[in-house]
Symmetry: C2
Subunit: 237 residues, 2 copies
């Protein structure tokens, strides 16, 4: 029964099923427009390009840019690599916009509502504010506050993100929990003094997922759904 | 029937009754602790110190500080001026914290819920994020996003606030409306290209209120409640 005042969520993978959503949308697009392609492969490669593209910002190699810009640059490269031809600029923009409307996991919306009744809820995501607001609205996910990378102009796991969120909440890191499906995100949050909640999402990367299947440290809470995590949190209302 | 994608609200006076809330709490405190004082006068003077204290930040005379810090400095001075003695540091902190739990006007919560069903809703306040989250939770006011002065490290009417919010929403200013009870706030928002919604609050400053009783320009929407403003907004869901 951990006492925290706020629980902030990683979003991609932890609250929304980016892979299943994107594969479904792009496969339907391929059928509609008569393009046969390895859409699942494209989606996995697109996500694979995500960390390297953010790393260029983290390292200072390029100035801060939102995920929309990073995803668009990766997509342009990958469409070529996957030999998917004739995709217009407007269609590419639409593909990038799919990240704004990803399906929540079935337990996300109800679990967030239960948690909202107890403590402050928010996002702490490498998405940007506009994308996160869109995901929240389209997915029916309620948050008290939206923290995105563009507020801090840093990407996780830079400490400016975790500590920046605590500062804006005017709470000590020990009163704030990061909830995530990724051990590395939790390790970075713990290094900044935050509490940690692990929600494994064994289907995030599809049937061949090899990482983050289990907790790799003694996280403060380990729960198999947002609702189960909510049950483990004491109310501070 | 104005087409906007997001409506951002001024909070103090527009959504919450700071004056009535503070007078009620401080009068009760005075009765409980045996202090007779002009609590209403103190509250009006406290609010009177609000703009000058922010002006020191706007002008660069002092570095950015949140309203909690500014309000505390003003309070220390005013308790002395009003000859209210023996107020401990903890009691002063409590008085400052009252700004985190101000009563909404009767139409605020329901109007925000109606508006949320149509467009993105948020705050655009000189309060800081922690204070605004607390006001929203304690007052049952739903917002999709919280923008406070500490995100921009500027106070309204600095353009960095209005334009910073539009940038974080990834929307052009013309797709964002500021809703406020104060003509000067709306004028500054309009100068940045935002749409404007005026909700007069003729009781904000008590029975002797002389300003902001009516619209002083042709604001895009003029409505006597948040719900009436919501009715005038076309859905962009």
């Amino acid at each position: 029964m951990t006492q925290v005042r706020a629980v902030l969520f990683d979003v991609f993978g932890t609250l929304v099923d980016w892979r299943g959503s994107l594969i479904a949308e792009l496969t339907a697009f391929g059928e509609k427009t008569g393009r046969r392609a390895d859409w699942a492969g494209l989606v996995d490669a697109w996500r694979g390009a995500y960390q390297p593209s953010m790393q260029r910002v983290r390292s200072g190699e390029m100035p801060f840019a939102t995920l929309d810009a990073l995803q668009r640059a990766s997509l342009d490269h990958l469409l070529e690599k996957f030999a998917i031809v004739g995709v217009s600029a407007a269609e590419r923009d639409w593909m990038v916009s799919l990240w704004h409307h990803l399906r929540p996991w079935p337990d996300s919306a109800a679990g967030l509502a239960a948690l909202h009744a107890k403590v402050i809820t928010g996002t702490l995501s490498n998405g940007h504010v506009a994308l996160l607001v869109s995901l929240a609205r389209s997915g029916g996910m309620r948050f008290d506050v939206i923290f995105g990378a563009d507020i801090f102009r840093h990407y996780k796991p830079d400490p400016e993100t975790y500590l920046g969120a605590c500062a804006l909440l005017d709470l000590p890191p020990g009163a704030v929990m990061l909830a995530a499906a990724h051990n590395s995100d939790l390790a970075a949050a713990r290094a900044c003094g935050l509490k940690t909640g692990f929600i494994p999402r064994p289907d995030e990367y599809g049937p061949s997922q090899a990482r983050d299947l289990r907790a790799e440290a003694d996280w403060d809470v380990i729960a198999d759904s947002v609702g189960a995590l909510a049950e483990s949190i004491r109310s501070s209302c």
